[in-house]
Amino acid sequence: MADYRVTIANRTYDVSIIDDQLVVNGDRISYDMDSLNDNGLHIIRQPNKNTEAYLEPNRQGQYDIQIDGNHLSAEILSGFQSSRKRSPQDTGSIHSPMPGLIIDIMVNIGDRVKEGQTLLIQEAMKMQMKLRAPSSGVVKFISTTPGSQVEKGVLLISLAPAG
């Protein structure tokens, strides 16, 4: 079983995949997807409906999706329940939301942090932004330093699950 929280156009969908069952925001749905080539083209089969979707990871750590003439981007947070697939990166990572200057980093590697705790401050266009932990955990690595100029979408801090 695996759970994914997908955000598209400010809408959030909690998708659970349990064997061949799919549950979206609490509703069980019939949905089947196959890759048509190695380049991201997929076919989605639902009752009375076949849809073509093109998916690819983008440089901001999100996924670009072209579906029915719409160009969307999806942010995906995942939390694996299965121990076999447990992966520390899944708990949380903080990317720069915009190009800008890293002003301060308030944590060190190994620190335990709580969900919502401010981890670092970024300044862009004369505006300071607090970047907070998406979940509780332990700071696994910090890939920036105060005073660095970073592009949009750069991985800044990665958290591992606490415990």
Binding site: R11, L22, S35, L55, K85
Partner: protein
């Protein structure tokens, strides 16, 4: 006959397609960055002309001429951009005994300098935008702003074209600020810092007339186009015919363009460009003495292949067409697919094309240089493809173009596909109320897709990641394919 196309990208392929129909063998030239490009593969022969930087390849007259001689080409087509408006190129081609597909070098020289173009148009009796025909000197701004021209004004490069190097000034202080910048830009883009002033026409429409001349005074026209949808003075969506012109206005503007052509005994294809103000008064602005990016809309409504006519005229010296043969039927619209990000002020984008699916079906034409695996870089123009739609009415053409844009799938590169569709969808575009400042006031409707679409996309995204993580696809896919192939082979062999 062997024709060398001194260009790259979609226009090089476009020209070679006509050559193939005419049985003319083709030669592509390419820079280092273009060694795998589509135009090199489409051509019968391809020859390297130097490094990626355009100055070392596509803008280098000597290298292109040497390539032509080495490979035995007798004709050169310059396309648009690069050397296409450079009279020295036309002259050098003709001096070396080859056929140049374009106007006489003297004519190109007149239109290469926008100030001499204004004088030529005035002499032919055309109404030219007010303002001095003299270049603007740094310390002369006060003298220049007088009875004939008032703010707001545009500062333009005399050697300019393609909307580059244009700056707006609304007051003396703004003018003195931008003069230096405009001059530097002009020098950098065109190697000539001469600038001049033109009044800004408010609520203007950009209307242009396609002409073809035999060089002896015979001029025929293929009607007009409207190209008012522009970003940074560069065209984005073009159409034929112009939706707002009355028949008498259309006749007037076409006659003015033809008169200029006759006056100069214009040779080859050319476009005479006008601005029309809100009182339907039209003013000459410039001539593009070459094939234009937006020529396909004219081809769609007239049924004529302009490149074919251009080549036949250049090789035979005769223009056998008559005006009565040319009729405009229906409407056509072109959308420029650009490697630019409309959300980031049209900054150039780059990337490798990971997936490509082009639209098709009734009334659709795609002129493209894209291929799967292509690395799109910022080395050259950001235009990567053109989508053109024809319909028997403007509304049908819009609907088709919108359908085509939504069918078009380009993976790995951010483009303006969605933005183009938003423009076409907007009320002012649909009703034909378009001016050159359309995009200044345009904010795309916040058209959030239907919930069912984002839901499908969300599930697809979750499954995509899930499949990537749980099924190392190398084994499953390969096994599946192998099994299918084996089963297929067995069927074949058992059947024989």
């Amino acid at each position: 006959m062997k024709l060398l196309v001194a260009n790259r990208g979609e226009i090089a392929i476009r020209i070679m397609r006509t050559c193939r129909e005419l049985g003319i063998s083709t030669v592509a030239v390419y820079s280092e960055a273009d060694q795998n490009s589509l135009h090199t593969r489409y051509a019968d022969e391809a020859i390297s002309i130097g490094a990626t930087k355009a100055n070392d390849s596509y803008l280098n007259i000597n290298r292109i001429l040497k390539a032509a001689h080495d490979i035995g080409a007798n004709t050169i087509h310059p396309g648009y951009g690069f050397l296409s408006e450079n009279p020295k190129f036309g002259q050098a081609v003709e001096d070396s005994g080859l056929i140049f597909i374009g106007p006489r070098p003297e004519t190109m020289a007149i239109f290469g300098d926008k100030l001499s173009a204004r004088r030529a148009a005035r002499k032919a009796g055309l109404l030219v935008l007010p303002g001095p025909d003299q270049p603007l000197e740094d310390n002369q701004t006060e003298y220049m702003i007088n009875d004939s021209i008032s703010y707001p004004v545009l500062v333009k490069a005399a050697a300019g074209g393609g909307g580059k190097g244009i700056r707006l000034a609304r007051s003396d202080s703004e003018l003195s600020e931008v003069v230096g910048l405009a001059r530097e830009e002009a020098k950098a883009a065109f190697g000539d810092g001469t600038i001049y002033l033109e009044p800004l026409v408010q609520k203007a429409r950009h209307i242009e007339v396609q002409i073809l001349g035999d060089g002896k005074g015979k001029i025929i026209n293929f009607g007009e186009r409207e190209c008012s949808i522009q970003r940074r003075h560069q065209k984005l969506i073009e159409e034929a015919p112009a939706p707002s012109l009355s028949n008498s206005e259309r006749e007037c503007i076409i006659e003015a363009a033809c008169e200029l052509g006759r006056n100069l005994k214009y040779r080859s294809l050319g476009t005479v460009e006008f601005l029309m103000d809100e009182n339907s008064q039209f003013y000459f602005i410039e001539v593009n003495p070459r094939i234009q990016v937006e020529h396909p809309v004219t081809e769609m409504v007239t049924g004529y292949d302009l490149v074919r006519e251009q080549i036949l005229l250049a090789t035979t010296g005769n223009l056998d067409l008559d005006q009565s043969q040319i009729q405009v039927r229906g409407a056509a619209i072109e959308a420029r697919i650009l490697a630019e990000d409309p959300d980031e002020n049209f900054l150039p984008t780059s990337g490798e094309i990971s997936y490509l699916k082009e639209p098709g079906g009734p009334g659709i034409r795609v002129d493209s240089a894209l291929y799967q695996g292509m690395a799109v870089t910022a080395d050259y123009d950001s235009l990567v493809s053109k989508l053109i739609a024809w319909g028997n009415h403007r509304k049908t053409a819009i609907d088709r173009l919108q359908r085509g844009l939504s069918e078009y799938q380009i993976g790995g590169l951010k483009t303006d596909l969605v933005f183009l569709n938003q423009i076409l969808e907007s009320h002012p575009y649909q009703t034909g109320e378009i001016t050159t400042t359309f995009l200044d006031d345009f904010t795309p409707e916040n058209n959030i897709p239907a919930e069912s679409v984002t839901r499908d996309a969300a599930v697809a995204a979750a499954l995509y990641i899930h499949q990537k993580r749980t099924q190392p696809k190398s084994t499953t896919d390969l096994n599946g394919n192998l099994w299918q192939q084996t089963a297929w082979r067995e069927q074949i062999s058992s059947g024989t």
